[in-house]
């Protein structure tokens, strides 16, 4: 059976060049970057080279990049480190309603320490209105955090306009770019952000290699106290292989970004265009215009996401869903609810995210196996029966 992997947002494979670059640091080049001797220097040089590559991917300076173990850690570091570092000025944080849980829960943790938060709503396409962010700002606001793109619905947010609203008031702006970095061109100068999170496992780097950009001169408190690693802002011996892998993946992403995008967009669009034509009562979630190049997401009415995922998996197709049943917590997706979808529709969430190198035959295979799956599940759905009754057939 042909297998088709359409779950890039969960994991990407290592590119051969990335694995090759990491190889020595899983073997003979085991030195600690903080050591003075030759083994240490070799590791240190590799880490600094990776820092240059990551900085170049987002238009930053190498000294502004701090390595972390995950996108989640980068977001925790940004939210807590910036908010706590500026609490003498104010204790109000503005975030969008569709942020990743690592951002929302970091803010909730700060709320327990006396901070306050405003959640900015999104429109039906998952877009944050910069004017709504501006309206949420108070004299007490020190930090705004809005994601660059949402991994569940693919919508790319107007970060530059949001930053332009906050900056004149001296408010810091962070963006969680984990879903976007490596796939869309990002420049911290053009965006006007003070901090930006990214993770290499979203663009063919290893799990465990992630980073936070913090603009030079911006005060941030460390999340992990320890030694002098990462300029004293993130203690702990560097994960050299993961950092080297992240660096190489960033270099390749910068080099190949346009070509990758050019190959993915037609495939993405064929999915977005054709699926609703082949199955009735399917809606595209997220923006059609400002959208990640590898991302096609839908809600299939009257059926539940996990049941669709299991059925697709039996046909060799890997995808993901934001349905409540898919989440361990059995909670409906806060992203889809924030976009105004009802619980039942949100249960039918399905996300297809394409790896580079996905061939048109892979998308064709999905388009072929998926309609019968939906048909089978709908025939056992009481909601579908009810719908047919109402429709009078």
């Amino acid at each position: 059976m042909t297998s088709v992997y359409l779950d890039r947002i969960a994991a990407t494979p290592l590119l051969p060049e990335v694995r090759e670059a990491m190889g020595p640091f899983l073997g003979e080049a085991f030195g600690n970057p903080q050591s003075l001797h030759a083994a240490g220097r070799r590791a240190q040089e590799a880490v600094e080279e990776a820092r240059e590559d990551v900085a170049a991917l987002v238009g930053a300076q190498a000294a502004e990049i701090y390595f972390t173990a995950s996108g989640t850690e980068a977001n925790n570091f940004a939210i807590k480190g910036l908010a706590l570092g500026h609490q003498a000025k104010g204790r109000h944080i503005v975030v969008s309603a569709i942020e990743h849980s690592s951002v929302l829960n970091s803010v909730k943790a700060l709320e327990r320490q006396g901070f306050t938060m405003t959640l900015v709503p999104v429109d039906g396409s998952g877009r944050v209105d910069p004017a709504a962010v501006e309206k949420a700002l108070t004299k007490d606001t020190t930090l705004v955090s809005v994601m660059t793109a949402n991994s569940e619905v693919g919508t790319i947010e107007p970060i530059a306009a949001i930053a332009a609203a906050a900056k004149p008031r001296g408010i810091l702006v962070h963006t969680d770019a984990v879903a976007a970095a490596g796939s869309v061109s990002l420049d911290v100068q053009a965006l006007g952000v003070d901090a930006l999170s990214l993770a290499g496992d979203q663009f063919y780097g290893p799990k465990g290699g992630a980073a936070l950009f913090v603009r030079k001169g911006v005060r941030i408190l460390p999340l992990v106290d320890g030694g002098i690693q990462e300029g004293g802002r993130r203690g702990g011996t560097e994960n050299v292989p993961a950092i080297v892998g992240l660096g190489r993946a960033a270099r390749l992403a910068a080099r190949d970004m346009d070509a990758r995008r050019a190959a993915l967009v037609p495939l993405r669009d064929s999915l977005l265009d054709e699926l609703p034509g082949r199955i009735e009562r399917v809606l595209v979630t997220g923006s059609r215009t400002d959208r990640l190049p590898h991302h096609a997401s839908f809600c299939v009415e009257f059926v539940e996401g996990e049941a669709m995922l299991l059925s697709l998996d039996m046909q060799g197709v890997a995808a993901s869903s934001g349905s409540a049943c898919t989440s361990k917590a059995l909670k409906a997706s806060h992203v889809l609810l924030a976009m105004g979808l009802d619980h039942a529709t949100a249960q039918g969430s399905l996300i297809f995210s394409l790896l580079d190198g996905t061939i048109p035959a892979g998308v064709d295979r999905l388009l072929e196996v998926f309609p019968p799956i939906v048909d089978r599940l709908r025939r056992m759905s009481p909601l579908w029966t009810e719908h047919l009754k109402k429709r009078g057939s």
Partner: protein
């Protein structure tokens, strides 16, 4: 994540469908909590001559419905009422901890259908839901631990969305399902309902 038996019942569910002329119909769940099940029964000589179901929900919910229908078919009403959620989960070779909720719904839907049949036969209006007296919770509002729907002020012991009855865990104070062996939050053993 799922046992082979669960996957078999998910891929080839038994007794899917609607009985146009049913002696009893039971519906539990709500799309808010993720699952919704409707059971239809046909009763002959105090036995379940036919059982059909429809389910909107995850793989576990579909497999549970299928298993319940298979276990119930041909049984007397008393035997069918004795099918418990634990028995269903056991027959399926176990369910992931966070999916036990689905097994609760399956047996509940069958029992609702039988009650509906008995009510109809006795000429009664459908039975009212039991009331409870759970204590106020500090901080966040009282919500169903399964679907997070806010529980009603006047009836905190019952989630209308999931049709689940609750009690307070004596160890952690969290709301957990009544009649379960252990608390879903802290795993502390619960007293069996008498």
């Amino acid at each position: 994540m799922y046992s082979d038996k669960v996957m078999d019942h998910f891929a080839n569910p038994r007794n899917v469908g609607v009985l146009a002329v049913a002696d009893g119909v039971g519906q539990v769940g709500n799309p808010v909590c993720g699952d919704m099940m409707t059971f239809y029964i046909k009763v002959e000589n105090d036995r379940l001559a036919d059982v059909k179901f429809q389910t909107f929900g995850c793989g576990a919910a579909i497999a549970v419905s299928s298993m319940v229908s298979e276990m119930a078919k041909g049984k007397t009403l008393a035997e069918a009422m004795a099918i418990t959620n634990d028995l269903v989960a056991e027959e399926l070779g176990g369910l992931p901890k966070n999916k036990m909720h689905c097994s609760n719904l399956g047996a509940d839907a069958l029992h609702e259908a039988i009650k509906n049949y008995e009510d109809k036969r006795a000429g009664r209006a459908p039975a009212a839901k039991p009331a409870g007296d759970l204590h106020e919770h500090e901080g966040e509002a009282c919500a169903c631990p399964y679907c997070e729907t806010a529980l009603e002020e006047e009836n905190k012991a019952f989630c209308r969305a999931c049709h689940v009855e609750f009690e307070e865990c004596p160890a952690c104070g969290g709301i957990t399902k009544k009649g379960d062996a252990v608390c879903i939050h802290c795993g502390a053993p619960l007293k069996k309902a008498s």
